[in-house]
């Protein structure tokens, strides 16, 4: 099960965070800093899966943006990896250039069914 979903820029600022399990506010910041630190310090040669406390972190870099998903032990890492890519693709399609601020606003609201594909993907987000 997905525990959290983060989008972080290269300077380490959280652009988006969505938690699927309740975490205290101060613990959230702590968690985010630690997670970001471990992701930013990886080189290109290392693999995209990190073990952090009792989560598994799967991250993917897109230009200046890091997308990090924290899952528990039972998830298939490669499927999540694919899912991150899928997610970015969808947003890309729907909004042509992924503009951060508008993106965030509409991310949480399930958009009106303009494209059934989008709905299916958005369904995937909630289902996971």
């Amino acid at each position: 099960m997905i525990k959290f979903f983060l989008m972080v820029n290269k300077q380490g600022q959280t652009r988006l965070s969505k938690y699927y399990e309740h975490v205290e506010i101060n613990k959230r910041t702590l968690l985010e800093t630690e997670v970001i630190k471990s992701c930013l310090s990886r080189s290109n040669e290392q693999c995209s899966f990190i073990e952090y406390k009792d989560f598994k972190l799967i991250y993917r870099q897109y230009a200046a943006l890091f997308i990090v998903v924290g899952v528990n032990d039972t998830e298939n890492e490669m499927a999540i990896y694919e899912f991150i890519h899928n997610f970015v693709e969808v947003l890309d399609d729907y909004f042509s250039r992924v503009g951060l601020h508008v993106l965030q606003l509409l991310l949480i609201e399930q958009p009106l069914p303009a494209a059934s594909r989008l709905a299916a993907r958005a369904g995937t987000v909630s289902a996971k």
Partner: protein
Amino acid sequence: MVASSLKLQELIQEIREAKTQAQEREVIQKECAHIRASFRDGDPLHSHRQLAKLLYAHMLGYPAHFGQMECLKLIASPRFTDKRVGYLGAMLLLDERQDAHLLITNSIKNDLSQGIEAVQGLALCTLSTMGSAEMCRDLAPEVEKLLLQPSAYVRKKAVLTAVHMIRKVPELSDIFLPPCAQLLHERHHGILLGTVTLITELCERSPAALKHFRKVVPQLVHTLRTLVMTGCSTEHSVSGVSDPFLQVQILRLLRILGRNHEESSETMNDLLAQVATNTDASRNAGSAVLFETVLTIMDIRSAAGLRVLAVNILGRFLLNSDRNIRYVALTSLLKLVQSDHSAVQRHRPTVVECLREPDASLSRRALELSLALVNSSNVRTMTQELQGFLESCPPDLRADCASGILLAAERFAPTKRWHIDTILRVLTTAGTYVRDDAVANLIQLIGGAQELHAYSVRRLYSALAEDISQQPLVQVAAWCIGEYGDLLLEGTCEETEPLQVEEDVVLALLERVLQSHMSLPATRGYALTALMKLSTRLHGDNNRICQVMSIYGSCQDVELQQRAVEYNALFRKYDHLRAAVLEKMPLVERGGPQVNEAAKESKEVAQLSEAAPVPTETQASKLLDLLDLLDGPSENAQHPPPLDPTPGDTLIHLLDLPCTPLPSAPIPNLKVFEREGLQLTLSFVRPPGTPTLLLITVTATNTSGGDVTHFICQVAVPKSFQLQLQAPSGDTVPAQGGLPMTQLLRILNPNKAPLRLKLRLTYDHFGQSVQEIFEVNNLPVETWQ
């Protein structure tokens, strides 16, 4: 004064124009003030815009709790634009811990029954995001109704909400169980995906549901098969694989259903083989599906051929250039190696290749897997590889690697010499990272391999001469040189090159170890004792050694000082005992807790005087006295036991064992003597904590008419035993079954040799003095084994 009402876009623009944090804060605070005023005054036309701006500010991290009531108002409004923003606000601002959240339950209920798709969608979405347990319970029947709505959009959202509800309130599974079977027949992938997830959640939380859903396995199999076989529809395909997310989810559900269940597993077997062979693994999506398939095969009761297929897929993954795939493969192989050992063995070369990965998490996994794959046939090659890895691996893996190699060597060593070589090599490469008991193990190993003493001492000497910084190595080498110094100087040993070693050089080396600032106190202790032992092994004069001992007699370290003082005493006062005291050690028993206890006990006797050698003497004299009395052929002057009076040694202490006799499995009593009504019986006790100790109670009973007086019983034992006779209870055994006399014997049997006793009795009976000498050879096996 009417505040200008900015549109959201304009606000965003303004914020982005702000150059500093302070400026941004200003803008937002100003805007929030406007918003608060607007909420107070109530501006129905623009309130959604205000709320939208507030939500944006909230996302940037500013407090927005005053907007909660506004959310409720907007949700209740009939206009769609209001509702939309209101629900969005509810999702962001309200959560379980706010009391206000229950208030929207009613609004949601109304919206759900309204019949307008979009509105229902919004309500369901909000419910699935922030629905608390109470809300879920209230609204579950509504959601269930919506599961069967004609509109696919609503059904999909309803399924997702159901998933959330089950996660929050597992008891609702009764409500959501029946529709599932029907929903599985959907064609819409979104609904299908949601349904599969719902069933997965239900099965994970309730075994009854699990049983119920085993019925749908054929249906699932059919769905997955169509997905895999029919060409990809562009709508749902991701890099050539049709809806990998759905495939993965179905596979996961099949895994849960097939676990520990023969029938379902059988139905799945063909399908799994099909998926495994038909999926294109060149892109990540395909690999993800394959990986899930492998996980499923591993978990259910699959046919053997299928398991081999799974391992081969993982082997193929290992050869893939993508690091992620290799990581995943190594992790899964590690789980499989216990159950399918032979299949994984086939991929051993590839695993060993992975040791050289630059990525730390990958090489760690490869190390664990390689260690698990070592067995008796490949131990030599594997150890070679692992030692190569040890030389170049990062420091945090070194400890694991070193202990892994040592463990593998212990379990599968083909010859003792190879074993010693391997340990030596590990100690020279990564000495500081090995575990503490490696030193003790190696010493024990060398001690046991008699034929290799010369060889080991030479190798260790050369290693030590090169480098005295690796502490475990130095300790072992010092001990060996001390014990087998004579072999070192002898000159020839066919297994290594001839090494001409002078006595002086050896002594100089040990002195260097003593003085080096790299040596730990324990190491210094070893070196000091080794020097002392050499005083008997070497043939030169011992002035040099004496000098060292005198110097260290005033050392700062208490432990070393004590040793030095005692050794000095050995030189000066007890020179006649020196040879015996420093004799070669008998083979050490593999550590039990009592060994350490004994050593600890003796450590606590921290004396700076020369009291330590004294017990040796009294023991020796007692034994000699006893044996002098007996003029039988029982053994002559038994050596005083090779005591090392220094408490610092961690190896066995032959005396000073705990005294408390503990009960153990009863050994049958033995009657050893009978004459004219006088009987002698032996009863045995083996205290469980001390396997080398035997307590014998000699009981003398008298059934005759006359008393037995002046009864003295003496006992002698073979050479390797030690005997302690305690005072008898009396020297008269009254007649007619009177109180028997008892005497306790303590026998130590370190070599576990068969026990024999020789007894000598002198007593007066019926006016005559009687002397009897006899041997007891038929002691029960349990007494000495």
